[in-house]
Amino acid sequence: MHIPDAFIPLPQAAVYWIIALVFLALAIRWARSELNEDKIPLIAVLAAGIFALQSFNLPVSMGTSGHLVGGALAAIVLGSPFAAVFILTLVLIIQGFIFGDGGITVMGANILNMGVIGGFVGYYTFQGLVKVVKNPYLSSAVAAWLACLIPALACAVEMSIAGTFPLVPGLVAMGIYHAIIGVIEGIVTAVIIYVLAMARPDLVDTSVGVASV
């Protein structure tokens, strides 16, 4: 759901940039207090993996494809929605400037949708669910599915404000496509969290580790 430059008028794009920069500042504050010698390898590997997986478009029927976004993954593994903002911002900068994937003026909106909304929805859904169902993999799969769907709906609303999509058809199409794309998000997120928890149980957030015992 990388928005291209043509889809949002400049004044609106600027507003999304301002919102994104506020969350980026908070994400840098999070990084200052949380990143240590052990967490830096994890955040670097997660970022590389998210970049690679975002290039892997899988067919989801209806003439559409989708890939992992990774907001929920980053937030759950590193134990903070700001981890998602931090990683997704850097990934989106690289994608936009080097690969033309996602626009430059609209990068604030893309950071807001995939980093901020994806990160917060993924993190808090996971934290709420894991206490109830006691299964970190099921919880992370559901959280990741929502962290794909909700940003897509937010994107549809932004497209409607921009005058690019009509509101209801935009919400319907974005919702249907991303409800299916979210299944990829859910499965891939759960599998990666499982692998990370096996390889380095000390690195993943305690809410993943403790619940899996």
């Binding site: 043509a6 590997v45 590389a48 897509a152 999509f165 058809p169 974005m174 496509y177």
Partner: protein, 113 residues
């Protein structure tokens, strides 16, 4: 349990492998946002196939244009999948280095206070 260095190398290799496989296997269908753009601009039915020559960006009204060095994760038609692999490998390594560099820079700024 594996140490940090092994973890980084293994993580990078797995990421590069995924990216390389993606060059050959990734679907060429438009993504969810592009499909929606095709639907609302009348180029595609909601559940139907995407048109070969559909242009999702025709619906956009903005005029800002930016020419990236490796558009669509490729080095152009003539470089084919080799160009695609180079683009993905470069992108994956740059991503890891930038995130690692930013993380260390933030940490240093904290320690120097």
């Amino acid at each position: 349990m594996i140490d940090n260095k092994t973890f980084i190398i293994a993580g990078l290799l797995i990421s590069l492998l995924i990216g390389t496989v993606a060059v050959f296997l990734a679907s060429g269908d438009p993504d969810g946002l592009e499909s929606t753009a095709l639907v609302v601009s009348g180029q595609k039915e909601l559940a139907g196939p995407s048109p070969e020559e559909g242009d999702p960006e025709v619906i956009g009204t903005g005029s800002f244009a930016y020419e990236s060095p490796m558009p669509d994760y490729s080095l152009g038609e003539e470089m084919g999948s080799t160009g695609g692999i180079i683009a993905i490998v470069v992108g994956t390594i740059i991503t890891m280095l930038i995130v690692m560099g930013a993380s260390y820079a933030i940490r240093l700024s904290k320690n120097s206070q």
